[in-house]
């Protein structure tokens, strides 16, 4: 074996002998001379773009020590006055454009540029160069990493980290000259790019250009060892340093058999990943509705009305109604027996963690088990991680997709074999809040089923726009376009963190071909939707009037107002009684509300054009029927989110007593007060709403707001004056 070739050179007066191919930087390091660098990071291939390490090798121009290889007899000077001056001028140039202190320096005091400038005596206050003409943009689209181009020095470290270290191929340099900057994919916001949130770029960034989005919260529970964590298959490929920075956002939680992990209806902001053991996931709230009944007090003296529960009548017959309750986990629950079991590798609470929605179900340890509880940042790192995503996709396709398809009446006749086949063809697609999934008029190429989050369905009409629905987990959209003229008939937007199952048009068509009953169901559905559209269009055509008062009170959003004509109303409350009679003793109407001219707009559901109440229901129990009114299904878990969301206070919660397992005393029951929400359903099973029918003075009217006010007020001096 021959000894490796060596090179001898002289650095700052010291003779150095190093193996051939050694860079000047490394050669200097071997004799204790530290040449300052910025763009160089040991472990990354040197690019020599910052030129901070420029040293005098006796040539016309300086050499970049990080890249230039030592040559025999080379005389290197790293610290002469001209070398130091050039380095200082370069630092001064960089500092002229640098926000001082940058995010990283502010928080951690570790911006490499600012530290080096300080060390070399380059004071920000004495900078001789002009500041940048205009600030560059900030990109906060990614969940865990903030991008601040102002702090970027274009050292290319993130680019090399992304492509050479992690092989993710997302970050590059865009543009040319002074306007050049780093970019993601096709110059996309980072959050919308193909970035997998591995964090390697951020860990490599010398400045505050790529920083961890601050997350101070620390979860209670057993602190996890990051090294152990990064070895879990689901955390594969994620930079350990990145996990370190999110250390407080993930904990290990052991539970004993029978312990409750989370409870339906409670607000939560974490997701759970099951490492060991099994858990039961179920809805403990009875699938019933609140009604009134007479009760007597213990002594039988005081008679009072109390809420109780009954099985719903008409809703169970509703063909639109689903057979499964969509919950925030990798399974759905059957309406008849809302309980299921989860095992190692299962995840639940994604929606709670991402969008702070109430828990959709109660989870109880069915044996001793260990879970990872995580806050949004960690969940989002995971969700972007290909290894984890693959596992979750598989799980979902294996278990929940079939349920989800079967839970929708329209897919009732699909055979398990076909679902098996479909499973391999569908894609799971994620959308960030606010992303348009498709727009009205776009070519139709797929059917979507909502897996996570809410999708807003909006249609444009001559008089404005109408939110047809907020679709929750277990609902589908996109069928109208596929079966009609192959263009989208409404615009669908992700309201929050949305994940959908995408069934390509070709697979959808195959399904219709194979299952005539599914086709028939879809055709029926489409006829219904067309009726609905027609009805709305008629409303829309009369809506060219705008009235300030009206708008001010938010009345314009209403499609169906209960108006009490105060000139006729005798305040007899017949309407309120009639409502209670029609709804198992619980009134959904209060004779109070806003006044407009001689009308009182009673507190009763207005079936708004933009029904905000529907957003966030963790179990999808509030929905708009094809006939436009809003109903609440019996599996409501009483979290109260819809009541909170309704801007007009028209959804009420009715408390009732129930007996449930006592978490403190396993095996025992204890009394528990729970709630159910109610909302005016326009009495659609009757000719007209009971309240209107019952009014003996013809003072109550259910009207379409725009239509009514157009008819009554167009041309009056009040509106004409506008």
């Amino acid at each position: 074996m021959s000894s490796p070739e060596t090179v001898s050179l002289n650095i700052d007066g010291k003779d150095v002998t190093v193996p051939k191919g050694t860079t000047i930087y490394n050669a200097a390091k071997s004799v204790g001379i530290d040449i300052p660098v910025l763009c160089h990071l040991p472990g990354l291939e040197p690019v020599a773009v910052c030129r901070i390490c420029a040293v005098d090798v006796g040539a016309r121009v300086y050499a970049a020590a990080c890249l230039r290889q030592a040559e025999p007899g080379m005389k290197v000077k790293t610290n002469t006055e001209p070398v130091v001056q050039a380095r200082k001028t370069l630092l001064e140039l960089l500092m002229a454009d640098h926000p001082v202190p940058c995010e990283k320096h502010k928080e951690l005091g570790s911006c490499e540029l600012e530290l080096l400038a300080e060390k070399e005596g380059v004071a920000a206050s004495k900078n001789r160069f002009a500041p940048p003409p205009a600030p560059r943009k900030l990109d906060h689209s990614a969940a865990n990493i903030a991008v601040n181009h102002n702090a970027c020095i274009l050292c290319d470290r993130c680019i090399r980290a992304c492509t050479n270290v992690k092989q993710n191929f997302v970050i590059g340099r865009n543009g040319k000259g002074y306007v050049a900057q780093i970019g993601f994919d096709n110059d996309m916001p980072m959050g919308q790019s193909s970035c997998v949130s591995c964090g390697e770029c951020m860990v490599s960034c010398p400045t505050g250009a790529l920083t961890n989005v601050g997350f101070e919260a620390h979860l209670a529970g057993e602190k996890v060892d990051i090294e152990w964590l990064s070895k879990l298959p689901i955390f594969q490929g994620i930079s350990a340093a990145f996990l370190q920075r999110n250390e407080g956002a993930v904990v290990k939680r052991p539970f004993k058999k029978g312990e409750i992990i989370c409870r339906e209806g409670e607000f939560g902001n974490t997701a759970f990943y099951l490492l060991e053991g099994k858990v039961d996931i179920f809805i403990s709230s009875p699938v019933q509705r609140a009604t009134k009944k007479d009760t007597r007090s213990f002594f039988g003296i005081v008679r009072k009305m109390a809420n109780r529960l009954t099985q719903a009548g008409r809703d169970t017959e509703d063909p639109e109604r689903m057979k499964y309750i969509p919950i925030d986990a990798t399974v759905d629950l059957h309406l008849g027996n809302p309980t299921a079991q989860l095992g190692p590798g299962d995840l639940f609470g994604e929606m709670s963690a991402l969008s702070f929605y109430p828990r959709s179900a109660t989870v109880r340890a069915s044996e001793d088990c260990v879970l990872l509880e995580m806050l949004r940042p960690v969940l989002q790192i995971l969700q972007k991680n290909p290894a984890f995503k693959k596992e979750m996709d598989l799980k979902y396709k294996d278990r929940a997709l079939a349920n989800q398809l079967r839970s929708m009446p329209i897919f009732g006749s699909l055979t398990p074999e076909f679902i098996d086949e479909l499973r391999n063809k569908v894609e799971l697609v994620k959308y960030d809040p606010g992303t348009v999934i498709f727009s009205e008029g776009d070519p139709a190429d797929a059917l979507y089923i909502v897996r996570i989050g809410f999708v807003k369905v909006l249609k444009l009409f001559p008089g404005g726009e109408l939110t047809l629905a907020y679709l929750h987990r277990g609902t589908y959209f996109g069928e109208m376009g596929l079966m009609g003229e192959m263009v989208r008939t409404a615009t669908c937007t992700a309201l929050d963190h949305v994940e959908v199952v995408r069934i390509k048009a070709v697979d959808f068509n195959l399904m219709l071909e194979k299952f005539p009953q599914v086709r028939a169901e879809f055709e029926k559905e489409i006829r219904n939707r067309q009726e609905q559209t027609k009805a709305i269009t008629q409303i829309g055509q009369t809506s060219d009037v705008t009235m300030r008062d009206f708008l001010d009170q938010g009345l314009m959003k209403a499609q169906s107002l209960l108006l009490l004509d105060l000139e006729r109303c005798t305040r007899c409350d017949e309407c309120v009684r009639a409502c209670a009679d029609a709804h198992d003793g619980i009134t959904r109407l209060v004779r109070d509300g806003l006044r407009f001219d001689r009308f009182l707009v009673a507190t009763a559901c207005r079936s708004c054009t933009d029904p905000l109440c529907m957003v966030g229901c963790p179990v999808g129990s509030i929905r708009r029927r094809n006939s436009l009114e809003i109903i609440i299904e019996d599996w409501c878990v009483g979290c109260g989110l819809c009541a909170e969301q309704c801007p007009y206070g028209n959804i009420n919660l009715h408390p009732f007593d129930t007996r449930e397992d006592d978490p403190d005393h396993p095996g025992m029951k204890k009394a528990q007060v729970r709630n159910k929400a109610t909302v005016c359903d326009l009495c659609t099973e009757h000719e007209e709403p009971s309240c209107v029918y019952a009014c003996p003075h013809d003072a109550a009217h259910r009207v379409n707001a725009q239509e009514f006010f157009t008819r009554h007020y167009v041309g009056t001096p009040k509106t004409a004056a506008r």
Binding site: P82, L90, A130, L154, N174, G175, K176, G183
Partner: protein, 547 residues
């Protein structure tokens, strides 16, 4: 073997040629088709000025903003006049190499003169009125063309292939003649060819740099149009000497007429059997094709040019290694300027003695010079090395309208500006360097009294700022901050004493920039400050007229 005509730049150019611009979808599709990450496709597309991301209007009018055109009044009011027209886009661009017809511009890439504003507006509204120019049919005869008739062409390479002249002899002749790179850097040609010949790696490549983009430089334009066969033969000889089998003629996209001339000359050479497989029946193979640059001055820097040929962002490489060792696709590559290559056949055919005798005052050879600015007959002249600046101005018809000489840039926008005291400097590499400037690309800009040299220096600095690729810190930030400072000074927002910062900045940029662009960017401005100290005072006097 990788093929530049199949690379990302070619793919983007083809797409834009077909569809007029690049859409987001196009970027995605190209990435998918070529198996490249999306960032790479977008990174390349957004680097080159030739690519656009919006549909092109009926007419795109460009106005040259650089030195010679600027001195001729530039676009003047045109920018305002054109910007109100419907379906017309107007933009200022860097030198398009038409400085002899200053102020110059283009309408839909067809070169025009901007002096008649009304006419330009008519063209902008009716771009179809303009005919794409064709190469001239009656080219000049130059002394450096050793062939009296078209039939005699390619005699030098014939002699080599017949065994009458060996590769070593070619190298010896080049060395003896002292021929140096005529693109600006002046590296000895014989030595370059010899270095590549000695490299063991195969394949090797020959690249001709026809990306002439330095303000006021347009001599290559004329050589390509009129004597392309000499450049082609120079490339074949380089291949013969170095052992390369393929070559690329890299031409700037603004030279469409010249590209056509080169294309037909290459076809002619193929017909004659001096290009292709088994050249003239021997074992020597050499394939040559034209590659059109997607734009940008920095592409003229040889390693940046190679990056573009490889389909990447055209950013200069760190050196060493030099292209002779690791050039195109990391292989040994001879890369020479159009004129350098065109001189080789004549040197071989007419001999070193003849060559030496062409010079004046003891300097050897002939050289093409472009001259623009305040002379009566701007254009391209083949003149003896050693001709003085004063003599050359006379050759170009003397000072324009008899105006008084003030200053001169003897070697393009990156050469230092000299005053009247240097008028008798012989035009030669060494003499020019001794006088404090350089021969550079052989592009002389003559400046008459009346021009504010601070403004001129700022104009040149702005050019380098505009053309900086942004790869390294000194050039990207240094050029930007220098322009900001100069503009503040010109606007009266900052005092002359502040300009001293430029000295320090210039030192840093010339010592630490990766390529020549950053190294020389502030040179001309500094030379104004040093050689014309009165300019600052004159400005101050003008700003505060005595009452």
């Amino acid at each position: 073997m990788p093929d530049p005509h199949q690379n990302l730049v070619s793919e983007l150019s083809r797409h834009q040629h077909e569809h007029g611009y690049l859409t987001d979808t196009a970027i995605r599709e190209i990435a998918e088709k070529m198996g490249l990450p999306m960032y790479k496709v977008y990174g390349v597309a957004s680097f080159y000025p030739h690519y656009r991301f919006t549909p092109p209007p009926k007419a795109v009018v460009t106005l040259c903003r650089d030195l010679s055109c600027w001195m001729a009044g530039g676009g003047g009011r045109l920018k305002e006049m054109l910007s109100t027209l419907p379906d017309v886009e107007v933009k200022e661009v860097s030198c398009i190499g038409r400085c002899d017809a200053a102020p110059a511009g283009t309408v839909n890439e067809i070169p025009i003169r901007l002096n008649d504003y009304e006419q330009v507006v008519i063209w902008a509204q009716n771009p179809d009125l303009l005919e794409p120019p064709k190469p001239t049919s009656t080219p000049n005869r130059y002394a450096v063309d050793p062939y009296n008739t078209a039939e005699e062409r390619y005699g030098a390479i014939r002699a080599c292939l017949k065994g009458e002249r060996t590769a070593e002899q070619v190298i010896a002749t080049l060395k003896e003649s002292g021929l140096r790179g005529l693109g600006g850097a002046g590296f000895p040609t014989g030595l370059k060819w010899e270095l590549v010949r000695k490299e063991a790696a195969r394949p090797k490549y020959i690249v001709c740099n026809a990306d002439e983009s330095e303000p006021a430089t347009f001599k290559d334009r004329q050589i390509i149009e009129e004597i392309p066969h000499l450049t082609i033969e120079g490339m074949i000889l380089a291949a013969f000497v170095s052992g390369a089998e393929s070559g690329y003629f890299y031409i700037r996209h603004e030279y469409e007429k010249e590209r056509l001339a080169m294309q037909s000359a290459i076809e002619d050479a193929y017909r004659r059997g001096v290009l292709g497989q088994r050249v003239l029946g021997t074992d020597f193979n050499f394939e040559l094709s034209v590659f059109v640059s997607p734009g940008g001055y920095v592409q003229g820097e040889e390693s940046a040019l190679l990056e573009a040929l490889e389909g990447s962002r055209g950013e200069p490489r760190n050196k060493p290694p030099f292209p002779g060792q690791k050039g195109l696709y990391g292989q040994p590559t001879v890369i020479n300027n159009v004129e350098t290559l065109a001189m080789v056949p004549c040197l071989l055919q007419k001999g070193v003695e003849w060559w030496r005798a062409q010079g004046k005052r003891g300097y050897a050879g002939l050289k093409f010079f472009s001259v623009s600015g305040h002379v009566n007959r701007p254009g391209v002249y083949l003149i003896p090395m050693g001709t003085t600046i004063r003599e050359f101005i006379e050759t170009a018809g003397g000072m324009k309208d008899g105006r008084k000489f003030k200053a001169v840039l003897p070697g393009g926008a990156s050469s230092n500006i000299l005053g009247p005291d240097k008028l008798d400097t012989p035009m030669d590499f060494k003499a020019m360097s001794e006088a404090g400037s350089m021969l550079g690309s052989g592009a002389m800009v003559v400046i008459a009294e009346g021009v504010d040299l601070i403004e001129a220096g700022a104009n040149i600095t702005r050019f380098f700022r505009n053309e900086s690729c942004g790869k390294c810190v000194p050039c990207r930030l240094g050029s930007t901050k220098a322009v900001a400072l100069l503009e503040d000074f010109l606007a009266g927002k900052t005092g002359a004493e502040k300009l001293q910062v430029l000295e320090d900045l210039n030192r840093t940029m010339s010592l630490t920039s990766i390529c020549g662009l950053g190294q020389v960017a502030l040179g001309p401005m500094i030379s104004v400050l040093r050689n014309f100290p009165n300019e600052i005072k004159a400005r101050a006097d003008r700003a505060q007229p005595k009452s």
